[in-house]
């Protein structure tokens, strides 16, 4: 890892980073020493959990939603992932959860905001549906009351999470008060090895820079390893930028991005597409643009990677020994996880496997899981949930027969939603149980009180489900390819 200091560049024609281009294009009122910039927001995504208090604020002031056309709603966090009963009734975990869903429905209806409700072909996790609908566009600013909004940065959009007060600001004014962030380039070069995925890459990166290594910065992921990633893999990488504390993550758009967008229902069409494409092609950091910090990572060194502690920066290669505690915090994490520092995690018995979330709940993730589960049986000790990220992912997966492979292996195939990633809809890991999860947070209690979470790739998760213990997915993939 190396770091370059950056001189202050104020000349108008100076090379700019992608972040600076996105920022400059959306400044409504420039920042001064006394006041932050007023930044325009192109797309505001909303969901049931972080919006009720914001709409209530608008009501209290008698304000309309300024741009209902730039606001899109979905239901994902507190929604059941079980099938409705014979009468079509959903079994909400709590009355409060159902009330929250009804509240968003009423707020969207009152303000003319499109809501992807139950029954819509487009409902799903907010960060899965934006990209699949083509709402997420290069060069745009996107916010949501959700920290994983960084996912959309994979398209070259400036996308970040906001709090509920700010949700109210955007609803009422389509703008935010913002100070410009610093820039961090993460250059990943070289090819990933077999069985090593984008999830392993980003876990490795967070381990390298630390869980607060990106604080105050917008990360731009660059380098040959990043360019080689599919669109879905790029989303997995940008998704976890917040787990390094970063404001946002970005990848410059290229032909991979444009090919994805050409297949979406709501991206521009015809002449509008041609015009947009010409503009999108300018969205890259100029040669010579200076970043506040640069970190270089060799992709060839990355192995299947998992977390051993209680934040996403506590990672180790699956075939390595986990570190010995270097202080009280690491020891506390090891104690919570009931792991021994200095030992390998291989062979640890697994109780639950969760595949899904905005990190790894897309079609390619479902395919990877199916590739491992085909003709296999989930270990009797393990409860395995596979939760597609959206209605579209679910349909496409079912069209390929992935649901049948999952069920035949003894795992549960669920309705779309956040599910066990945040465990507020009743999909819970029990106290003391060890879960291998493709989600993004292994915080204490994240998946249920006293639940122990190991974050991993879909390959690793599926291999652990079959083995009933933590295993190296590469051994497994080779075994079954042979």
């Amino acid at each position: 890892m190396t770091s370059d200091p950056t001189p202050d560049i104020a000349t108008p024609d100076a090379p700019r980073t992608l972040f600076e281009k996105l920022w400059d294009a959306h400044v409504v009122v420039p920042e001064t020493a006394d006041a932050p910039a007023v930044l325009y927001i192109d797309l505001h995504l909303i969901h049931e959990v972080t919006t009720p208090q914001a709409f209530a604020e608008l009501e209290a002031r008698g304000l309309p939603v300024r741009r209902p056309d730039r606001t899109k709603g979905t239901l994902d966090h507190s929604t059941p992932t079980t099938q409705p009963d014979a009468d079509g009734v959903l079994s909400y975990y709590t009355a409060d959860a159902e009330h929250q869903v009804r509240t968003l429905r009423a707020n969207c209806a009152r303000h003319g905001v499109e809501l992807f409700d139950f029954g819509s072909d487009h409902r799903g996790i907010v960060h899965v549906i934006g990209p699949e609908l083509g709402l997420t566009l290069p060069g745009s600013t996107i916010v949501c009351g959700d920290s994983h909004t960084a996912t959309h940065g994979a398209f070259g959009a400036l996308a970040f999470g906001i709090g509920t007060s700010e949700v109210g600001h955007v609803l009422a004014t389509q703008c935010l008060l913002q100070r410009k962030a610093k820039t961090l380039a993460i250059e990943v070069d070289g090819a990933l090895g077999p069985g090593v995925t984008a999830k392993d890459l980003i876990l490795h990166v967070i381990g390298a820079i630390g869980v607060d290594g990106g604080t105050g910065h917008v990360i731009e992921y660059r380098g040959s390893a990043i360019r080689a990633l599919s669109m879905e893999e790029r989303m997995t990488v940008c998704n976890m930028s917040i787990e390094a504390g970063a404001r946002a993550g970005l990848i410059a758009p290229d032909d991979v991005t444009f090919a994805w967008l050409a297949n979406t229902p709501r991206a521009p069409k015809g002449d509008a597409w041609d015009a947009a494409l010409a503009q999108w092609r300018t969205l890259r950091s100029d040669d010579g643009a200076r970043f506040d910090r640069v970190v270089r990572i060799d992709a060839r060194e990355i192995r299947p990677t998992v977390t051993w502690g209680t934040h996403p920066g506590q990672v180790a290669a699956i075939d390595a020994r986990i570190p010995v505690a270097d202080g009280a915090d690491a020891q506390r994490a090891l104690d919570y996880m009931r792991f021994d520092g200095g030992k390998s995690l291989l062979g640890q018995p697994v109780d639950v496997v969760f595949v899904g979330s905005c990190t790894n709940g897309r079609l390619s993730d479902m395919r990877q899981v199916a590739a491992v589960l085909r003709d296999q049986t989930v270990h009797p000790r393990v409860r395995m949930l596979v939760v597609p990220g959206s209605v579209q992912v679910k349909r496409e997966a079912e069209a390929e027969g992935i649901d049948r492979i999952v069920r035949a292996a003894g795992a549960e195939w669920r309705e779309p939603g956040c599910s066990m990633c945040i465990a507020m809809n009743g999909d819970l890991v029990g106290p003391g149980q060890l879960a291998v999860s493709t989600s993004n947070r292994n915080f204490e209690g994240r998946q249920g009180r006293e639940a122990r979470t190991v974050l991993a790739s879909p390959y690793t998760a599926a291999a652990c489900a079959i083995a009933g213990q933590l295993v190296d997915p590469r051994d497994f993939l080779q075994e079954h390819a042979a």
Binding site: E166, G245, M424
Partner: protein
Amino acid sequence: MSAEPLTHVRSRTVCLPERNIDTDRIIPARFLTTTSREGLGKHAFNDWRWRDDGTPDPDFPLNRPEAQGARILVAGRNFGCGSSREHAPWALRDFGLRAVISAEIADIFRSNALKNGLLPVVLDAAVVDELLATPGIELEIDVAAATVALPDGRRFAFPIDGFARTCLLEGVDQLGYLLKQTPHIQRYEDAFHAR
């Protein structure tokens, strides 16, 4: 929501030395199904504070008798990392806190805290370590001067954005401020978003 002005915080401290205290620990997700901002204080640090049977854990620092009424929390670095849930500062405010001191505070938490009259104070790690080692001392935080005064008379300056400071001191309504920018917003939309 226009916050009431905050000019000084004088209080004993309560300390949580752990690093990377995330928003799931500040308030677990299962309490996010509320549609109100009120009443979340009882769930602040819920799974630390309350045992499974609903009784308070007497060892948890915020449950100790000497911590009652404390308005300043001193915490290990990278406090408030994780989710964007504004329920975290809502819960801490409702619990009675007015300031959080740490060597590092996560970006979104800091922004959310400032909008709710909860002052995020970043001090040098050495000073924070000293505060963590001496829980319960009386501090005086002066928002206008952006300083923290210790009982022995030492004062430490902390960085604060000028706008954020004005908002705290005067209880500025940020949404009201943004609404006053409407002519600029309209011009921007006319120029760039006629498409």
